[in-house]
Symmetry: C2
Subunit: 385 residues, 2 copies
């Protein structure tokens, strides 16, 4: 690649239920925060990751909407979509504009309003990210399918529900010190198994909540970045991979091959291995998805992903800190914005600006942004000197 | 930019009402045709331009859907969206993957099923590409807004409805010899003004029909392209620009500033001027949009765009052949696929394979893919030696 690409600004809004503010206003807050952080006034292009605005708010065409509302009339603006991996996709598309030399500075925005309609309507909208004809049309929902994967996993590896509890306990602990997190309450392991069932065996303390939120990062060439900010964060590796969209079409439904492939490509690009990763922003949309992603990306052998949580290795001071600001479970899952939140949080870690959530001596971070049941995975590796 | 990028394969399906075939099947036909044309078996990435599948077919996440259905499990796949400029956006995103060196070969697919639901539901869905809060929520529709622009233009420049007739006459004439066109009937100028009114003064023979269709192109580095096919078509210029999304927010609503800006950037990148363009694939979603785009991109002075049609200069043998296979009006407007159709058609022209529609000695082509009322414009310039 011609240009190496670095992150020189980050911004985010609190994650939660923003009923008093619209999509464009929410997005603008994150854009302005990122531009203030990078100390710049404008950019050459804006790439927007968004999943649901068309179905939820009857608003598509967000490239024009957001450049317009931000007062950047004329600026290149596009929207990309891959369900709740839209943010990670946007990061890579923005990176390509800089890497190719087509743009000097790019703003990558993830923005989502997911709570403005009834949960039943949201569940119906989310089904549009599954295989409509063979999954959604038969009544499958994302969490329903996650529940089937979890049931299968528990049977296959003889694992109890309580074995997964520590993923959520850890997420809530990390979220408790994140001012932008949706949930800041701590969770006790003994309460995990008592939570209301969403789709048996997945319960309310197992699955991440859809939420409203916006996050943004500013990208530029690494060469230029060094002159702009004291601590640019370099994108060392970037890969997107897909899997069979419908879970029933997969040869091995307990292996997230898109995560595996994208991680493998990112490892190859960087020469890094799982043991080199100082922190992992995991797509913990449900504990089974965390488990499977850890296994697919080389952090645990098949059938052992849950052990990392159970053994307490995933905390901020552990062997492999994950979801360091609470992850999807406690920070919240603003769908198309989630991948950009992961980027912002990892960049703060690498800059040493993560406050109470700081992972000590963090130099290398991996981001895993996974669409629904793993149909698409965007994996990035970030680093600082 | 590191790599120059060329087109080495093109494919398309007929445009029309494909009620007997689904989105994925339609897309696959174009993908296979393009890969056969390039004589390749696989690609490194697929970029899908699609506008409406979420709202019309409850199917998002098309990057995974299309790579999966095409048997390309694992391949990088993303979807981009900017209303009916989604195809042009996809072309540029695909180009960036090659230009940066991240991918060697990329398939850009535009696919749309726009006729599977009642027209009333489609009109409601299309409003999601306007400014929902300030245009759609007030009852505005895309064609309704085009009608207001046309009325204003007619008043401002003292132009009659009949002055626009030749845009449609020309489109139908070109479409009559295109086997993939939705409409192959010729149109007489005297029948133009008698057509049923859609939104006064825009009538049925003035506005382009939404349609089903899929088109695909294969991109690779120009260096590699020369070894692959006898006549690669090079992407000489590429630019995306946006405008205020809502028409009422624009200082000058009869100037399509996104088209103007994107064209200006493409001219600057290539050192070319309007007079160097041998053919123009115009976004003729309505005759007023053709008129305004010709003016914004330097082919006619303000208030004179319609004269090019009235004076008969836009035919295949004219000064500036436009919409050479029938354009949106006669080939049809498969929304998110339209920009890729334009690319396919221009590539066929530059390869000298346009048959009865061939523009003599065509060496340089411009593509203008415009979203709705001009909120986004993607302009590309293609060339052959």
């Amino acid at each position: 690649m011609m240009n190496n690409v670095s992150i020189v600004g980050v911004g985010q809004t609190p994650v939660g239920e923003h009923w008093g503010i619209g999509l464009r206003q929410l997005g603008l807050q994150a854009m302005q925060a990122a531009m203030n952080d990078a100390k710049i006034q404008d950019v050459d292009a804006v790439v927007v990751g968004n999943a649901l605005a068309g179905l939820m708010s009857k608003q598509n065409h967000l490239g024009a909407l957001m450049t317009d509302f931000a007062g950047m009339r004329g600026t290149e603006g596009v929207r990309v979509e891959a369900a709740d991996a839209s943010g990670g996709i946007a990061l890579r598309q923005g990176m390509m504009l800089v890497a190719s030399g087509a743009a000097e500075t790019v703003l990558v925005l993830g923005v989502e309003k997911a709570t403005d309609i009834l949960a039943s309507a949201r569940i119906s909208a989310l089904a549009a990210f599954l295989d409509n004809e063979y999954e959604a049309a038969m009544g499958a929902t994302p969490v329903g399918l996650m529940a089937m994967l979890m049931r299968r996993y528990m049977l296959e590896y003889n694992v109890e529900l309580s074995c997964f509890a520590n993923f959520s306990v850890n997420a809530h602990l990390n979220g408790s010190s994140n001012a932008n997190a949706m949930f800041r309450n701590k969770l006790k392991a003994e309460n995990f198994a008592k939570a209301s069932v969403v789709a048996d065996p997945v319960n309310l303390f197992d699955v991440a909540p859809e939420a409203d939120g916006a996050a943004a990062v500013i990208l530029t060439s690494s060469e230029r970045a060094a002159d702009m900010v004291p601590q640019p964060v370099r994108i060392l590796g970037s890969a997107i991979a897909t899997d069979r969209l419908a879970v029933h079409d997969r040869e091995d439904m307990l292996y997230l091959s898109a995560v595996g492939l994208a991680a493998e490509r990112a490892y190859q690009q960087t020469g890094l291995k799982p043991k080199d990763i100082d922190l992992l922003e995991l797509h913990d949309s449900a504990t089974i998805m965390s488990t499977l992603a850890l296994e697919a990306s080389g952090f645990a052998p098949r059938g052992h992903g849950w052990r990392l949580a159970a053994d307490g290795k995933l905390g901020l001071a552990g062997e492999l800190p994950i979801s360091t600001f609470g992850g999807l479970k406690a920070r919240g899952n603003p769908l198309g914005a989630t991948g950009v939140y992961q980027t912002v949080e990892a960049a703060l870690q690498l800059r040493g600006e993560a406050g109470a959530n700081q992972v000590k001596d963090a130099k290398i971070a991996m981001l895993q942004n996974v669409a629904m049941l793993g149909g698409t995975a965007a994996v990035h590796i970030l680093g600082v000197e």
